[in-house]
């Protein structure tokens, strides 16, 4: 029996170690590629152990840092605004829908839920946001379409309110003369920090990683997020060299070498990996929570 335990222990460790390696190695290759000397790269390709190292790519980025900073700040602004506005409207809508003494709560519940079942898809959405509400080439394009709020998160928060915020507490606040806003602000919100942190985290990652809105709504590189810079560099270099846009063109007109491209990818990934250990717990909890309710 004891021997069997040990065999299982060891084989678990071996398999999990190999799997972890598989998950990390591509990132290591990316990083090594970014610090490989340019000629070595062209001659020998990407390698885990390059013949010659060089920080040239990063020096180049540092010298042209204004353009990278610009894309970085677009990403940060969009992430911060999108996540905070999204959290506010999500938590408010979820609260109204969670109150079963609110006459419209059933209608509201279905109204939110139906968006999970059926959607118009890309074509009508794109036409709406370009022909009727023109968000093209504005920061709104990166914030509003698709990402700002979704029915799934609203349902998640609503379920939390119903199950974890004691109803007597809300009633007591009402009896004490607190209005609905006051009750929400000083009773419900403080109790809902865990779920709001989870939803906020999911939204932050979503905004940070989004390239789709930038790809379909933005042509002016002034509004490119980090992901869009990467996306455009990889797939459509000619477009950028021909565009006469001010800010980013300095990096891109000279068609960045493969090393520099990899360096930008590294820079885009680093914040997530640095922050990851701190939000890991919430993230794991969030996934498990989301799975339980649909």
């Amino acid at each position: 029996m004891y021997r069997e335990q040990r065999v299982w222990q060891w084989s678990s460790h071996i398999v999990l170690f190999l799997l972890s390696l598989l998950c990390v190695l591509p990132f290591i290759l990316l990083f090594m590629a970014s610090i490989t000397e340019e000629n070595t790269l062209i001659l020998n390709g990407y390698n885990f152990i390059p013949k010659e190292l060089s920080l040239e790519a990063y020096r180049y980025l540092w010298d042209n840092s204004s353009s990278i900073f610009h894309a970085y700040s677009v990403t940060i602004i969009v992430t911060v605004i999108g996540t905070s506005v999204g959290l506010v409207i999500t938590s408010l809508l979820a609260y109204a829908a969670s109150r079963n003494d609110y006459p419209l709560h059933k209608v509201l519940g279905f109204y939110i839920f139906f968006t999970l079942l059926f959607n118009g898809g890309l074509v009508p959405t794109y036409l709406l946001y370009t022909q009727y509400i023109d968000v093209k080439n504005t920061l709104f394009a990166l914030i509003i379409p698709y990402l700002l709020m979704n029915g799934f998160n609203v349902m998640l928060v609503r379920t939390f309110y119903i199950t974890s915020v004691p109803k007597p507490l809300i009633e007591a606040a009402h009896i004490d003369g607190a209005g609905e806003w006051r009750t929400f602000y000083s009773i419900v919100l403080p109790l809902s920090v865990p779920i709001l942190a989870t939803v906020g985290l999911l939204q932050t990652i979503m905004y940070w990683n989004d390239w789709f809105n930038g790809m379909i709504f933005i042509t002016d590189s002034k509004y490119f997020s980090l992901q869009n810079v990467l996306n455009t560099m990889m797939t459509n270099i000619e477009f950028l060299s021909s565009s006469n846009n001010s800010n980013l063109s300095s990096v891109m007109v000279q068609v960045p070498s493969t090393g520099i491209r990899m360096a930008i990818a590294v820079i885009a990934v680093i914040p997530i990996f640095v922050a990851y250990p701190f939000f890991q717990g919430y993230f794991v909890k969030g996934i498990a929570l989301g799975a339980v309710k649909g």
């Binding site: 390709g45 990407y46 079942l117 118009g120 890309l122 074509v123 390239w211 990818a265 996934i287």
Partner: protein, 310 residues
């Protein structure tokens, strides 16, 4: 009496008004972002003419659908979407359960959390980054495989980005790689929830680890497996657009194995300017998608009412 009724009405308004105001921003957003596009689906039945305006364009009935289903494309994108998602569901589920069981065997909590964090890493990065990672391996000129690994093994170079036959494997591997951590968290959570006494009793009876997994762990997490699989099946008509668009680098020559409904709709709309076909394919996806969700929900309801979405 009158006064009482009036004050009651006042009370009611004091509740209804603020709650309605609270709901309003979210309701408006869903109206714009979700509901208006639903009505926009009617453009699949129109010959869209921007000069006339979208809503004023001429009705053409099912013409767009007629053209769409006459082409080979409709078959290819439907086949690809279904086969890929089918393979993704099976492989991700099986491997995630396997990994979750192994993770549960690790007794050292810190090491366990460490493994779990690492396996979740791929899930955190965007598909654009993933396309860079894949490019580092597959690039014809500088890729690790073609430049470093293959010469050592004596295999000749492969132009990955123009050979369609490799992509079903590549995309499946990437999907599993990116999503295994996510599913694993869910399965691990339900494995941890199993009462330890069952295992203790089984051990006393001399059951081997393998037997315990087969007759305790798997049956216990079966409801979760069924539920998650059914939810995925309900969404089988929708693909991970980034995976099929970014990772193959939008390469046209390999579209026979990388084109799915989502990429078809995107290309029709934004690269070929064929709004008719694109919106027809979009409506096709939305409708079949709705039917599938309702059907799978019906099945879930039969199995366990509590887990049903509606």
């Amino acid at each position: 009496m009158d006064q009482k009724a009036a004050s009651l009405r006042m009370m009611k308004w004091k509740k209804i008004l603020p709650l309605t105001l609270m709901a309003l921003p979210g309701v408006l957003y869903l109206l714009i972002n979700n509901y208006m596009p639903m009505f926009g689906l009617v453009i699949a039945f129109k010959d869209v003419n921007f000069a006339k305006g979208i809503l004023a364009s001429d009705w053409i009935g099912f013409k767009n659908f007629f053209y769409l289903f006459k082409t080979q494309d409709a078959y290819i994108i439907t086949r690809n979407t279904l086969l890929y998602n089918g393979a993704f569901i099976v492989l991700t589920t099986v491997s995630a359960i396997g990994v979750a069981i192994l993770l549960n065997e690790v007794k050292n909590q810190i090491v366990k959390r460490f493994y779990q964090s690492i396996i979740l890493l791929p899930f955190l990065v965007s598909m654009v980054i993933v396309s860079y990672l894949v490019y580092a391996f597959l690039s014809t000129e500088t890729g690790l495989l073609n430049k470093v690994v293959f010469p050592k093994l004596g295999i000749s170079e492969i132009s990955w980005y123009i050979e369609a036959k490799y992509w079903p494997y590549i995309l499946t591997i990437i999907h599993v790689w990116k999503n295994i951590g996510f599913s694993c968290v869910i399965y691990l959570a339900s494995i941890i929830g199993i009462d330890q006494e069952y295992y203790e009793a089984a051990t006393l009876d001399g059951a081997s680890k393998w037997q315990q997994i087969r007759s305790i762990t798997i049956p216990f997490i079966m409801p979760v497996i069924v539920m998650l699989s059914l939810i995925s099946i309900g969404r089988i008509f929708y693909s991970d657009f980034g995976l099929f668009y970014q990772v193959p680098m939008n390469s046209g020559t390999i579209s026979s194995t990388t084109n799915v409904i989502d990429t078809y709709v995107y290309r029709g709309l934004l690269q070929l300017g064929d709004i008719g076909m694109s919106s027809a394919a979009g409506l096709y996806q939305s409708l079949v998608g709705l039917v599938l969700v309702v059907l799978t929900n019906y099945v879930i309801r039969k199995i366990n009412k509590e887990n049903a979405l509606f």
